[in-house]
Amino acid sequence: MKLNCHRGSLSSALQIVSGAVPARTPKEILKNVKLQVTDSEISLIGTDLETSIRHVIKDCESDQSGEVLLHTARLQSILREIPDERVALEVTPEALIVKGGRSRFRLAVQDPSEFPTIAAFSEENYHLIDAATFREMIRRTIFSCDVESTRYALGGVLVDLGGDSVTMAATDSRRLSVISSPCTVHGTVGETNSPVIPHRAMSLLEKSLAEGDEQVKLAVRGNDVVVQAGQSTLYSRVVDGRFPRYQDVIPKEFNATIELVAGPFYSTVRQAQIVTDQESRGVDFEFSADTLTLVSKAPDIGESRVEHPISYSGSEMKITFDPRFLAEFLRVLDAETQVHFCLIDPQSAAVFKVGESYTYVIMPLAQDH
């Protein structure tokens, strides 16, 4: 089999697929990517057995169909170093020959049939979501995952697929992010399906969705989910565990609602965060008429008071929050975003709402000081 590829497009395809190639693995063969040539397309496949990426290479021709394993790191170095615009690959049963204008590399190959098979996206029934929205949804939920817990379901993002909307939720049991967005269904999808997709796959998805992609196709199968966007298809195994019933923890009624603008409030929170340490993580949020004062004290560092003007007319109230949880939430918002800060009392969960679709629930800390 002989191939002729544009160096740049092969290199960028390799770059994308290598996102799934494990750096350290006991299964040596997984350090390779599989180049698969079929009648219709030429694609690269990489996997760490948890997530897999299949990427169609453009500007590449082959004289026949077949497959070969390419050592990811080695081929990456070759493509980086040779100056030519096009590279030729020649596959024989014994070796892979990579040819540039003046260079020739003969590399040992492994049996491609030993590499796990990753089928092309062939689902008939799937959800269609706007790519930019999908990326935004991931960005706004993924930070709430609890990747260190042994409750593995919390280490992923729940993707609740309804008939005309998709909801993502992530929680570490101290805070919860929920966001939903409309979507369309292609074909027929069965009853509501709610896979939990691991954190790693989600962040890989967020990174690999290119700017140009318009729509994302998302299909849930028995044990994995398949997401296709543009030239790339990402497969991820789903977490086998029960995700908590997140709807139940979102309060419905509040005693006070405060309007905030994300950017300035984020800056205030960051200021308050300076004088905190591991022991005194909490920052007191003191609400009084038209002013919110953030008070923090750390025995070894000092103390700080930061005021933030708000429109508030209720009774005075003091609630303690972990500022990191607020900062992580505010960071994913645009500076001018309008945020509703909804409160009940110092013991109950507080809720941030952005528009109708994005909700962030945060538990206050106990006030022991």
């Binding site: 063969i29 049939s113 790693r200 044990n223 977490v239």
Partner: protein
């Protein structure tokens, strides 16, 4: 490899087949038995058959043709997770079970088991050298071991099940594997083409304690040379402790480069000694029973009894030394002390005689 290729362990294999036939396979199994007898082979065959996507749920025969079987043979099956003690290490660290440092909860066996299977109906975890898990690793594993996600089978393999935490042991169903018969070892040694000569194979098999890994060590002729040397020394009229100890030590060191190897050589030496005295004991018993009651030779009988008694004492001394094998004593000192004791025991006897 198929079930029919397995030598020995037919009862255990039948039990596994029966459990699957009745769909009563426990989610955690503990394969216990001496090392080098094929526990892992049985575990892998079981895993392969359970993962096969062509056979029926109640059948424990892998089809050998489906994608699952092929990728199992290639060692890349995504649903077969194996962990074992890293080479050259004495413990199976927590990093392999639950991830370490930044990776805690994000890698390791427990994390992998939290995902849905990829290719097959279920996931299989094989934990080899399970007794080498340190307390941290074992405790991190408890939760998964007790209540894994559905469709998970965990196979723990251990040559020292007593060294496992009781909490681990009680969460598994134990299946004990016996050492192989000496004829089975001889058969294997020949089948594996380790030796051609059946007599050598049988000699090795007899010394191997039913373990193929022990037999593999015995392939090195120097072990057998050491045995011959020891036997010649022990059957000599007079035991010259100092010289003999030096000779043995030299022979052992030609084989062993580091402390671990020396210890291993020392334990072989003791085993050869035990074997020597055991043989002598058998010989004496036979001699004794051959005395016809009409044979009026009371001296001969009492002489024989004395020798029996003495051999018993010598054997006891060897067994005592063997039981101290794991106490980390200095090998050359132990060797000299042991030989001196043997020489003394023999002298005492000669004086009586």
């Amino acid at each position: 490899m198929k079930w029919s290729d397995v030598i020995g362990h037919q009862i255990q294999i039948e039990m596994l087949h029966e459990a699957v036939r009745r769909q009563r396979l426990p989610h955690a199994l503990l394969f216990a038995g001496p090392s080098g007898i094929g526990k892992q082979i049985v575990a892998r065959l079981l895993a392969k058959a359970l993962l096969c996507v062509q056979n029926s749920e109640t059948d424990l025969q892998a089809c050998e043709t489906c994608g699952s079987c092929r990728s199992f043979d290639a060692g890349t099956h995504p649903d077969c997770l194996t962990v074992s003690k890293p080479e050259g290490k004495a413990i199976l660290p927590i990093a392999l079970i639950a991830g370490e440092g930044d990776e805690r909860g994000r890698s390791g066996l427990c994390y992998d088991l939290s995902l849905r299977p990829m290719l097959s109906r279920r996931k299989i975890a094989i934990v080899d050298d399970a007794d080498c898990m340190n307390a941290e690793a074992a405790n991190a594993f408890l939760k998964t071991l007790e209540e894994p996600t559905p469709d998970t089978v965990i196979i723990m393999i251990s040559s020292q099940p007593d060294a496992l935490l009781p909490t681990i042991r009680s969460r598994c169903q134990m299946l004990r594997f016996r050492p192989l018969k000496s004829s089975e070892i001889a058969e294997l040694v020949i089948r594996l083409e380790w030796v051609d000569d059946r007599q050598v194979a049988e000699e090795i098999a007899a010394l191997s304690d039913g373990s193929l890994s022990q037999a593999a060590q015995l392939l090195d002729p120097r072990w057998r040379e050491l045995r011959t040397m020891l036997w010649t020394g022990l059957s000599a009229e007079k035991l010259e402790t100092g010289r003999f100890a030096a000779e043995l030590l030299e022979q052992m060191e030609s084989k062993a480069s580091d402390a671990g190897e020396r210890r291993n050589a020392w334990s072989w030496l003791l085993r050869f000694a035990v074997e020597f005295y055991r043989n002598e004991l058998t010989e004496l018993t036979r001699e004794l029973s051959d005395f016809a009651p009409t044979d009026n030779t009371p001296n001969g009988v009492s002489n024989c009894w004395d020798r029996l008694e003495r051999t018993n004492q010598l054997l006891d001394r060897c067994l005592e030394e063997e039981s101290r094998r794991d106490d980390n004593l200095n090998v050359s000192l132990s060797l000299e002390a042991w030989l001196t004791d043997l020489a003394q025991l023999r002298r005492k006897e000669s004086a009586v005689r």
